[in-house]
Symmetry: C2
Subunit: 257 residues, 2 copies
DNA sequence: AAACCAAAAAATGAATGCAAAATGATCGGA
DNA sequence: TCCGATCATTTTGCATTCATTTTTTGGTTT
């Protein structure tokens, strides 16, 4: 029916409709989404999140249609959703562009992420089990190992998984979905730029993580909320400082052409 | 340009693409969205949020096309977006249904709202001006007046505006957008059910609001975060208790037919 | 040579058409 | 009479087609 020889790297972390939006459906109906539209949506989202298109670059319908071997209709639907999710911008009569994250956008995103993690921690304290905490501790020590070996990549991954675990422990799917969406928006930047600065924060970050674990063990909700928010705030500072010179989102016109 | 003789309370709180998703575009490009798709999206969203379709009711494409006087293509795009926003569910080959909010869904939504307001308060403390606080105080006294007169509707509106002001004071558009989306999801329930119980909480709620104002005046971020979250948590309890018997989201099949 | 205007080419936005699936209705059997 | 199966109708999903708008390109003018 179609070529279908796409780029498809691995499937990404985003669950389903990823949108900060909402989980697709849960009222006892179907589970998977075998529809073409859903399939395209996931693949296109992954394609964008993984940074296959430069910041501010154009997202040509025609090309993507060939790439996915479909007509424009389902692709355009996917584009509309991605725009709603905040991954791309839809310019009237001028097509879609990958959303350009300026300094201020990043700050806002980190703050909201901080707020959500803060909430997740608070909620987690209400119902988290000792086993879940043990698992997070395990990840923490694993991360500590990577820290000692100065293995940035693995450290980063462990770190990410810890935060995911906390969010999962909140037992709030709505929260999880929104969190996943925002994480997707940031991921592009994270992979490229964010790395370097974070390195200088390693020691500091490890200490913060210990404080987080400590508050979690004591189920100290409010305290954990504060600690998590501040942790993200510090991350924010590091991330934003890193992309210093960027005026706002000005390099858009030069890239995707 | 259009009939618009809907229930229309006031154009809803949702700004543009409303999606918890994201603001449409801000990188120095266009402002308004004169496109048909955007127009339809807004109108359809309002139509759903305002409760013109019963919970779990079907959203027939054909009918809506006639109603808006457009073809199916732009309408289907709008439906996809609304699904991403969490307002409706898209069942494969079976059309769209207004999302049914079960007890658990409501709890989750209220908690996330609480987390977001909590965050908003924390952020607001960093930059809020005396004037903004004064404005919120003004609204508070206005609300107090409605409380004394037992004017539920006006009280409710003032209350809502106070919370909106706090979110606005956070100076975080991303947060504002996500907040607006969640507010939209809850609104349907809010209007109908939520009212009654809230009444019993009036005195308590007023006290909480005073505590919020107090913390805000002192710019006590963490404390305000706690207070706001707890305030929403109490609201949650009231709201959920109210729709007591509802199993989860079971009355779906009986309504919209 | 640079800038401006005009026409062609391409891309977007929306409408229509067609195949597949689901819903509803009728008919047959126990 | 009640239940289940077959067939017609409706509805959904996607492709294709049509109408604008934008962008490019070529020619002209200053």
């Amino acid at each position: 029916m179609a070529p279908q020889t796409t780029v498809a790297t691995m499937k990404s972390t985003i669950p389903e409709s990823g949108v900060p939006i909402a989980k697709p459906a849960d009222n006892g109906a179907e589970r998977t989404e075998p529809s073409l539209h859903g399939e395209i949506l996931s693949r296109l989202r992954d394609y964008v999140v993984e940074g296959n298109i430069p910041d501010g670059g154009r997202v040509p319908e025609r090309q993507l249609c060939e790439m996915f071997g479909i007509s424009r209709t389902p692709l355009r639907e996917a584009l509309k959703v991605l725009a709603a999710e905040g991954l791309i911008d839809l310019l009237p009569n001028r097509g879609a562009r990958v959303r350009q994250l300026g300094k201020r956008d990043l700050e806002e995103l980190f703050d909201v992420m901080g707020g959500l993690e803060s909430l997740a921690g608070r909620l987690a304290c209400e119902t988290i089990t000792d086993e879940e905490i043990a698992e997070i501790e395990r990840l923490h020590y694993e991360m500590y190992g990577h820290y000692l070996h100065r293995n940035m990549h693995n450290y980063f991954q462990a770190n990410q998984r810890i935060h995911e675990r906390i969010v999962a422990a909140s037992r709030n799917e709505t929260l999880r979905t929104i969190y996943a969406n925002l994480a997707g928006r940031i991921r592009r930047v994270r992979y490229s730029a964010n790395f370097a600065r974070e390195r200088q924060r390693w020691t500091e970050a490890m200490r913060e993580h210990e404080a987080i674990l400590d508050a979690l063990r004591r189920r100290a909700g409010s305290e954990l909320a504060d600690t998590l928010f501040q942790h993200l705030r510090n991350k924010r500072t590091a991330a934003v400082e890193h992309l210093g010179g960027m005026p706002e989102g000005a390099i858009a016109e030069t890239t995707g052409r």
